[in-house]
Symmetry: C2
Subunit: 292 residues, 2 copies
Amino acid sequence: MESIGRKPLVERTSIIGVGLMGGSIGMALRSRGVSRYVSGYDSPAALADAISVGAIDPGAGAKTSLREIAEGADVILLAVPIHAMRQVLEELAPHVEPHTIITDIGSIKSSIVKWGEAAIGDAFIAGHPMAGSEKTGVLNARADLFEGAAWAFITPEEPGEYSPLLRARHETLCKIVTAIGARPVLTTAAHHDRAAALVSHLPHLISYAYNETIETDPEVSLAHQLAAGSYRDLTRVAASDPVLWRDVFLENREWLLYALARYRQKAAEIEAAIVAGDPDELLKRIRSAGIL
Amino acid sequence: MESIGRKPLVERTSIIGVGLMGGSIGMALRSRGVSRYVSGYDSPAALADAISVGAIDPGAGAKTSLREIAEGADVILLAVPIHAMRQVLEELAPHVEPHTIITDIGSIKSSIVKWGEAAIGDAFIAGHPMAGSEKTGVLNARADLFEGAAWAFITPEEPGEYSPLLRARHETLCKIVTAIGARPVLTTAAHHDRAAALVSHLPHLISYAYNETIETDPEVSLAHQLAAGSYRDLTRVAASDPVLWRDVFLENREWLLYALARYRQKAAEIEAAIVAGDPDELLKRIRSAGIL
């Protein structure tokens, strides 16, 4: 609808890996006319599903090799599992054309920036949309997944490395994600990985640990009967893809362990106030921990 | 609407404490015609608000003493803070009529059962609706707050203590909460307190500790910019009433510390697998912790 009469921002976008995330990006780009053509590279079954939900162009949008998907692309978007990222980057590299911008959507950035720069060079701009779902697969993709979500793009550690060409590439990517409703946030890989450990990776670890606490308790049956909002909040993301989160936990290990240690300390402080049993002290503790 | 042509289940329900919870119960009872009359006892300002949102009957529904609120009541519902519960029970006791059932909505049950039995005797049936909100006050009350929610009623520890009169009182209360959309669950105080520690009290402690971890981190600003669904899930209940949760944490201290210790152990096991850095082992660990 929104595309009528508006010139697309780019001619050709290629999405490698058309699952929940890649598929949602394709649907968002196509429904808003942001890219004239949207192609996908994945298994034949995933490509068929992607066409059926409108995530890639019917017919010519389905690509069966990295050479084909790279051909003529203005932007290539890697939406593959983190553990596959390095290999895909290396295999893609020989086919990348000089004008193409390559980006990704991996949840951790320091490792991926290293792999991307080694394989592709300056044309690789790492990114991370802060949106997702505990569901997987292109059949769960949604064109509005990025509405209001932050979308991080990684900048060089040193301002001196920030060339006009790099700036132009950032601008193109920022325009594209803005057009699908996201809010671009420019930051370095280290800052990203620390902040993402806090607001995304730690909550997933907590949710997994919390869910297992309930499921292994002798009182699990009554617990399920009595479960309400706070239980649902705490367990939702424990249904997330285990392989994805295994990869994230390992690749962002240092910041995640840092965040976990700080969190454990905060929980221990509240626990100590409960054990001490001083009502005024505990109230002060909860007030300082809570949202006022 | 549903009340048209249907005989009310009870004549007179009296709600002591017309805040978010007491007010929501009043709205639910009145909008569904479950009780012919619904009265409230609270501060004059809260009673005026309660009338304005339809939580109690206009005019005669506003009671200004415990004697008045007890007079002719079929059911008295205590929706006061846990730290005020014991005193209200003791002050209410002299005014309770022989046919009246007294119940409460406190989040912990062992202590309240003791206080209620000491002050009121058999006519006190402790209860706990597993619904709530991080918002407070009767102006945030909702008639549909209990739709689909569990509502625990406490049974004696020993089956021998279960008299026909007690059974009849339980039945009345179960019918009332069913009529406002809730799902009655009968259990003992000890089982309730253990299960509630797991599915409600522990999530609140986790949320407070997690929120403080973010707010005190040097990266808090970028963390807020990148925050998405899992962050919102983990922090929502950290906006809950600190006094309420101080009371819950103290009164259910033993089960909460038990639940926290088990949870800490589960988190430590995931942490150990991350530190070990074995991808297969960590994947197995996350799979067993997650929701499949």
